[in-house]
Symmetry: C2
Subunit: 684 residues, 2 copies
Amino acid sequence: MNIKRCVSFVVVVVCSVVVAAQEPAPTPKLNLMPVPASIKFHRDRLAVDANFKVATRGHSDARLQAGIFRFMKRLEGRTVLTLAPGFAPDDQMTQLIVQTQGPGQNIPSVSEDESYRIDITSRQALLSAPTVVGALRGLETLLQLLDADRNGYFFPGVQIDDKPRFPWRGLLIDVARHFHTMEVLKRNLDAMAAVKLNVLHWHLTEDQGFRVESKKFPKLHQLGSDGNYYRQEQIKEIIAYARERGIRVVPEFDIPGHSTSWLVGHPELGSAPGPYTIERRPGIFEPALDPTREDVYKFLDTFLGEMAALFQDDYLHIGGDENEGKQWDRNPKIQEYMKQKGIKDNHALQAYFNTRLLKILQKHKKKMIGWDEILQPELPKDVVIHSWRGTAALAEAAKKGYDGILSNGYYIDLIQPASQHYVPDPLPANSTLTPEEAKHVLGGEATMWAEWVTPETIDSRIWPRTAAIAERLWSPREVTDVDDMYRRLAVISLQLEELGLTHKKNQDMMLRRLVRSDDFGPLKTLVSVIEPVKEYRRYQQRPQNMLSPLTGVVDAATPDAEGARKFSWMVKEFLNDGPRYQLYRPELSQMLAEWQSAGASLGPIIDRSPSLKEIKPHAHNLSQLGDVGLEAVSYLKLGMPPPRDWRETSLAKVEEAAKPYGALEFVVISSVKQLVNAAAEVKR
Amino acid sequence: MNIKRCVSFVVVVVCSVVVAAQEPAPTPKLNLMPVPASIKFHRDRLAVDANFKVATRGHSDARLQAGIFRFMKRLEGRTVLTLAPGFAPDDQMTQLIVQTQGPGQNIPSVSEDESYRIDITSRQALLSAPTVVGALRGLETLLQLLDADRNGYFFPGVQIDDKPRFPWRGLLIDVARHFHTMEVLKRNLDAMAAVKLNVLHWHLTEDQGFRVESKKFPKLHQLGSDGNYYRQEQIKEIIAYARERGIRVVPEFDIPGHSTSWLVGHPELGSAPGPYTIERRPGIFEPALDPTREDVYKFLDTFLGEMAALFQDDYLHIGGDENEGKQWDRNPKIQEYMKQKGIKDNHALQAYFNTRLLKILQKHKKKMIGWDEILQPELPKDVVIHSWRGTAALAEAAKKGYDGILSNGYYIDLIQPASQHYVPDPLPANSTLTPEEAKHVLGGEATMWAEWVTPETIDSRIWPRTAAIAERLWSPREVTDVDDMYRRLAVISLQLEELGLTHKKNQDMMLRRLVRSDDFGPLKTLVSVIEPVKEYRRYQQRPQNMLSPLTGVVDAATPDAEGARKFSWMVKEFLNDGPRYQLYRPELSQMLAEWQSAGASLGPIIDRSPSLKEIKPHAHNLSQLGDVGLEAVSYLKLGMPPPRDWRETSLAKVEEAAKPYGALEFVVISSVKQLVNAAAEVKR
């Protein structure tokens, strides 16, 4: 990382606009995400036309060639150019040279070299990398560099030196609460590669489902999955697919808690006699493996041995979180065992369990990773701590000599804005770790817990926000400009669609289904300014179970609602423009008028679609917000003080609109309040 | 089929609106597609709320239960209701009873009984069928019956007796010119089931690709497919998936022509020495199997034996079309063989080949089906003729005692409107066949030839138009109201999205990619009134090959462009409203004004997106059409004659706009002309 180089990112871009006045203007701002470690600009540009060809130099192998093939197909898809298939000779007539020193690791690991360098002149682009994975990372950067103007498509003249800040940059996908198809996994692996994430953390087992075929213990998947599990052959297919993209696959088998689905087929492993059924509710449940029985360890030895052979990665995640030990407390045999062995409490019992587990994993040549809770004094140092608690816990572990990764702050299931996930840094500027200790902080993972996502909606919960987290984990610490992040995020979000991601297109589809018509404009207007309630409030306000349809308005709505962000930004600019109040006034008025009319139009739509009844109050309030906002804009524009009680009645309407319904809430409340308060301050 | 009952369909609907005045009004028009053989209405309605349950009566099996499970999931998806999982007891408290007599055929065949009956009262819906497939058909009808008003979701009170007019109702998917993924096939099988199609004709081999794994001759798929083929296990998965939905899978191995991809790995089968490479162009090519060599038949015996075991269906399609015999003409050994055997020409040689092939198929217990060309005097009667030539050819074959199916008129790759595909009837009203002969007409198939479709676009070429063909093949002959077909088609098209079909949602995605922005409104306006050129003109006007990107405007545009259909209809109504000229005037004016402004806005958009350059003239012409149309509307509204040369200059502009660019053409030309001509006739 080089701070100066990073800062120059913004500065030099502006320069390039100036210097290139005589030439076809290069793009004023690049849309790279994550921002590379270092970038320099020059005036050249490399044209991309039907003659565009690629050659390899140095090492070449099937993985690299497949990566270049995908690159060329995506380039063709965007440009609608038919490019010559195959590879060109490595000469001056070839526009792109991919120079790779060697294959890199056969099985990607945390020590893989992912660095690359790009040098683009008007005649040739040279992508060079020590490994195939580095070259793949560079190809993604190239696709983000592609730009166009009336002269055609081109790569801007840049020199990029890039490598990741952290070696562990993951996305956890929970396929247990809701099962996610091979297609979901594949397209998300494509998207991960596009933003340079390198670990798929595959959360495979939960109270609500056991999702992997076990040939040793087939009752696990047969009775624990409703038939929704991955065959071992499919697991291999995903691992291979990920490897092709330089992505590791770390499986998680969450024990001793979170294990109801295991016990459906194997009640003998539980700490209570059973019988057990697959859990359908969200939450934390009591079933836990019995850590006092030798046959449980024998079972785990066999099962984890099978899984260790199936999954190639060095690491295996054993979960270990949220076991409250209630079954243990109630089991006299377990209590007796603890007394005998001098195990003083459930924490110590779980530590004992983990120690046994660690030996099993070591036997099968796997490193253990688990959630915060597994950190116990007696734990050996080659265990990795996965922190949902935060950077402090991570630093504490690092000081003790444990490797760790951060997920606190990256819980994308909580429906928070990208700006919020963009802040947490596994190794913040104020870190007190020594450089040696800091090396233990390996990176982080976004966590897609799947209580409320299906294959239809999961992409919209992961993307585009996870790209912001990917940037935090790849780019220099100093890359923190939120506005620029959102600007680039919008571009990247569009590009993700070419990989089959459905985060954008499925919303309209869901709105059409709800409205039972192509005329869903008013509902779309509403959805552009409301969001699902945050954190864990959805279930509290609108209980459903794991078998419920996730096809409501709350499912169609997304975090970072576009209209609301735009509105808030315009309000800020408009108010800053006082006392003139001209800037964005027409746009604001138009938007507010649209709310008025959409709110009114929604009435008859809701009457035809009972599934929309739950948002009826929002429809009314949308109109109200439009009314109040337009009035405020008028007073400000005219410089006319509103009537005496206007502020109070208006704010009452806004407060009324702030109430959640259908687990959805307006996210323009504070901006409308700002308008009202500003208008109320107008003096004659 | 019962003509009177069918006619009553429309009449009784109107009655039901009248009689139900005191009750919550039932839906005035049903959205069933295909229209059932018989339907009666009564005043009841069956509420669908969170208490909705289903029970089976009589026979039950895994296939039925899975079908009911899917039904319930779709019902939940639309209503956002969480319904109780599993089956309820068969009593009066259960809202839906599915009564099935027996499993039907283990492997679906052309003689499967697909009939069913639905009887809905205010307390219960009874779906009864002799077979599981019949019950599945009825479940689809139920989902189409689902309606809603402010009182909630409900099934209207109807009694439906339904069965198909033809037993063979197919969709051919060509996976050879472009490969189509498992996902594409599965979602299209779902869609087929939704409109009661029952044959997937899987066009597996072509000059451009060999798409099935052969364990006997692995060079076929290894060298003939670019790696894009189905493993045998995947083939089985598709067959099982289809069977679950009461759909047969008929494989096609197109020989002796259309066989370049076979010869890449096995040049020894060809009529010229080779070597061969996979064909990348569209068209008809020379390579053909050598029908004079015994080892070719030995090869086919082994290969087709392998395939006959893999595919369960009674029929195997051998193609047989478009072999021009040029390789045969040039091969002295073949010429010599013909002389020796007294084979007078290439037709006779192909007949000889087919006769040999027939014996091989008979040995492997398959019935042969092939394209028109295979019909030769010496052909035995148990061969099925697949007619791309037309109903006359089909009738001729039937008179000779051959079974046949129709595809002429159902070539959905030709981008013609649904109204056009809706007309051809395998057994038209003027048929001269005797009832006995008519039985030979088994039905028909829509053909999705895949020169210009990818997984991204194929759905938009198949749907919704294929639903109109499905109706032609299922519903009584007298169901021919085009306006009502389009009305229902729009509803069904929406419903298909719940099955994952991408025909609607991918268009916006493609437009976003082309425009490189979310602001694709102007391009969408253009695309709503232009369509890809018809028949085989696309390639002539805009040559590409099989490896080219299909991501251009021509790929985003669809047949039956919505805006154009709406415009044409409004123009008709508006002109019929003369001399008043009020009806739809505001809507027409708004639409025309939108064309004006969209045309203007497209300029800068095209400048930023070189891939749009090819439609630049259309952007200009869109504005021109808007201008001319608005002028015409004005003259008509004011009753003011236009200037003397106005008609001529206006028609010249319209003619100019009629020119195709980018293999796209306006489909509002004749309507705008009508406006101009009407305006030009205005007398003072």
